[in-house]
Amino acid sequence: MDESAAARRAAAGDAAAFGFLVRQHQSRLRGFLLRVTGGRHALADDLAQETFLESWRKIAQFRGDGSFAGWLIEIAWSRFLMDARRRKEDMPGRMPEPCGDPSQDNMARLDLEKAFTFLVPPERAALTACYALGFSHDEAASLLRMPLGTLKSHITRGREKLQAHLQGWEKCR
């Protein structure tokens, strides 16, 4: 079953097709939310679940002119903002837990995840959407509901902060 067929069937009320979409997208969505929440696993998973439940409720509104992944990211980001507003907190990050072998690549990835926790959520979301998830600037601006100029500013500022933190740690090694 391909994604658009599954989305069409889910829109017609087919829960099994929706289950297929959940399995297909859970990793990317949870990964995005894990980045945005600054490594908070439980919160990221709660938001991911609410995102899927909201997407099921609104599945008839999914027109298929964009990707299903993009639509999920849009819902997830709006859920995250609502949750952050409710909590009235600035979402300071948590140190991500290391996983797998401590190889060079994994260390670099872990350093990156650690550096991400020093960014503010819109910077985390903009960088993750444009780099790791591969959305264009226009697409990301639309998904994250921010003007293109604002998105680009978040990317520039985020990159500068990451560069500064990663270089600082490199010197300490």
Binding site: R28, F52, L112
Partner: protein, 93 residues
């Protein structure tokens, strides 16, 4: 590895570990709850409508007519009302 390469790496794969199953269970649970709330709201609406109707002159006339019907006719009217109720519930939007 420079920053752009590092940022462009796909996000680390997160194993499902029953996450999807949990989402589907929660989805089913909320649908059942939603259906119950909907049924309760329909019953409350029907009760309020009957109560309001009973207080009006046409309602009293209707009740008098219903009471004058034979037991079999009353059962038939009841069944028709139930049938209409359920056909409205399952009618496509």
């Amino acid at each position: 590895m420079n920053l752009d390469e590092l940022l462009s790496q796909p996000l680390a794969e997160i194993p499902d570990r029953h996450f999807s199953a949990h989402v589907m269970t929660e989805m089913a649970r909320r649908e059942i709850r939603h259906a119950r709330i909907e049924t309760a709201a329909r019953i409350a609406f029907a009760a309020a409508a009957v109560g309001t109707l009973a207080a009006t002159e046409p309602g009293r006339e209707l009740a008098a007519t219903a009471l004058s019907l034979s037991f079999f006719a009353q059962i038939c009217v009841g069944l028709v009302v139930l049938l209409l109720w359920f056909s409205l519930r399952i009618a496509p939007e």
